[in-house]
Point group: C2
Chain length 361, copies 2
């Protein structure tokens, strides 16, 4: 973690500030604080000045901070705003950068009252993007392990058959599989949407029973050592209606074309366009109403945004989803999602389930 903190340390001048502050609480957690320091607890402040790197926490987290944090001097305090104010004064900070989307108005105003001479400078969320957006090898390995665990858990449940089961029981079994295989927890609420419910892009699992010839969309992911996975498969119990098979073919082709097309240096929106044009040609364009994908890492949704409005350029080290979908009310929906790592040769798929129409009898 020291390396990340040092990188930020060196950038203080170019950010136009003397120091940068991060704060994590139960209500407003900062993933970047964890990213920079390694600290996983739910109450701490991180202050990086030109001369120091400090982590402030309270007595509950003393042992944990010592175990987890490197690259920062740990200060166990009772009153964080008071301690921060003291450090700002003694370091002569005039301009303090804050992670303004991830810090509460209350915390900033409480601190500002103690240091009236310090100018608060909201930094754009993206100022840390360049750090987190490209993954180190060890980060890729954690995400890959999360994806493997999740794929295995889902495969076991699907292979045991879905007919007659309630959506919520299917979700429960997959989530139990995550834990048994070593994941910390789910990365998001597991989606199991069957029958006509498959047309809901975010249909969480209900008590509906899966019937013969139902399509079933399963969107699932777990968290392993702080990193997330994300994958979606489409299954059918018995025989799918022919119009459903057509939808699946269109989404499958778009998914495969996007997988093949992904290259470093490409604009994110151009990758989105590859899939979108393929689905448009198949006649389903208006039913693909979300972006092609999103970055995945310590958070389930993070940059890059692979969408029609995604301005960024794809780079080696990025991990993101490729998830075209077509949803037609009254008929059903198909979404096929792979989690990929972008290497010098293109997209490496990190998850393991097939993207065919999976038989789940």
């Amino acid at each position: 973690m020291t390396e990340r903190a040092l990188l930020l340390h060196r950038r203080l001048a170019s950010l136009g500030v003397d120091a940068v502050l991060f704060n994590t609480s139960e209500v407003v957690p900062s993933t970047n604080l964890r990213y920079l320091s390694g600290f996983c607890g739910s109450d701490a402040s991180l202050l990086i000045t030109r001369t120091e790197r400090l982590l402030f926490t309270d007595g509950r987290y003393k042992t944990q901070a010592k175990e987890q944090v490197t690259g920062f001097r740990i200060r166990v305090v009772r009153n964080k705003p008071a301690a921060l104010a003291g450090a700002l004064k003694s370091s002569g900070v005039k301009r303090l950068g804050i992670e303004s989307p991830r810090i509460s108005y209350e915390f900033v105003t409480r601190l500002a009252r103690r240091v009236p001479g310090v100018e608060i400078v909201p930094l754009k969320e993206r100022f840390l993007e360049e750090f987190r957006i490209c993954k180190a090898d060890w980060e890729r390995e954690r995400i890959k392990r999360a994806a493997e665990i999740a794929s295995e858990a889902c495969r076991e449940v699907v292979e045991a058959g879905l007919e007659g089961r309630r959506e919520c029981d299917v979700a429960a079994d997959i989530e139990a599989g995550f834990r048994v295989k070593g994941a910390e927890r789910v990365a998001f609420e597991t989606i199991v949407a069957s029958g006509v419910r498959s047309a809901l892009p975010h249909g969480t699992a209900t008590a509906r029973r899966i019937e013969r010839n139902d399509p079933v969309i399963i969107d699932f992911g777990c968290r392993y050592e702080g990193y997330c996975s994300d994958e979606t498969v489409t299954c059918v119990v018995g025989t799918a209606a022919s119009e459903f098979v057509n939808i699946h073919s269109a989404v499958y082709d778009a998914h495969m074309k996007a997988l093949d097309a992904a290259r470093e240096g490409m604009k994110a929106r151009d990758l989105d366009r590859v899939a979108r044009e393929s689905i448009e040609k198949a006649g389903f364009g208006k039913y693909f109403m979300h972006g092609l994908g999103h970055g995945v890492g310590m958070e389930i949704h993070e940059p890059p945004h692979v969408s029609p409005r995604g301005r960024g350029v794809l780079k080696v080290g990025m991990v993101f989803t490729i998830e075209p979908g077509v949803y037609i009310e009254g008929i059903g929906g198909v979404r096929l999602e792979s989690l990929v790592y972008l290497g010098t040769d293109g997209a490496e798929v990190l998850c393991q389930m097939p993207k065919d129409l999976i038989a789940a009898d």
Copy 2:
């Protein structure tokens, strides 16, 4: 929900503001926004002025907002700060109250820039306490149902025997039980701490295998229709060491005395003292290093604070935990936690597992 919004509406004058704003986002969710409006989505603003009650959200949540929200006019917008600014101007708002611990610095500053004539007034978190702290009957019923589901799920796993099982597998089975029985999800990460790990107040489940004669602390809760449960039991696989039995007796007595003593009109800290003095008399005072309990509702931790510093007075309608614990490094720990509703006759226990030393062979 309309009733809650109206109550707040009537209080605007006494809060010293012309309007109150709540904002919920994926990063900084506001439980109070959901409480007041019924809206469960992850992006919306709520504005209560002297003349209007408005909910602003975007196109993704149009259908959901119509289904869930009562008592507010719904406005589907692309740019929330711009729409809010327009509404503030047309309502002639001069002083705008905000829920400052649960709103990001960025959101407030973006809005403030658009309405330079409006004074931003941070309201204390507790200004809504009086609404949420005492539960309506239908809220009590949801919490009770959550507690019943959780107790049943835990009982089934404990009765099947814990010997030789990994902590994480026990946690996974309990959590799967929540889902199968109709809960939405866990209320918090299930704690399964066995052997000497039982001395960790917050020992999340690991791959450790539970051995013969191990004590096992299980702290678990689920979420049912938006409301949480919370319960802790202590089990033993085989025969507990005599010093462990002594610890259990001390905690059990403290737990029972506190259950008996809880009455409306009592100071929260006096209830804490009942349990604390009992444990002190048994000689374990210094090993009970947390408060006796906390409120439970839409959030797993909310007021009242039943601790040595808890200033409030217990009232009919409050739902809180009674959870004394003793943790001795190298020997093990016991925590016994019941979730109670305070009625006119005292504490009604909402959860169902026994607080004896439960045999889990």
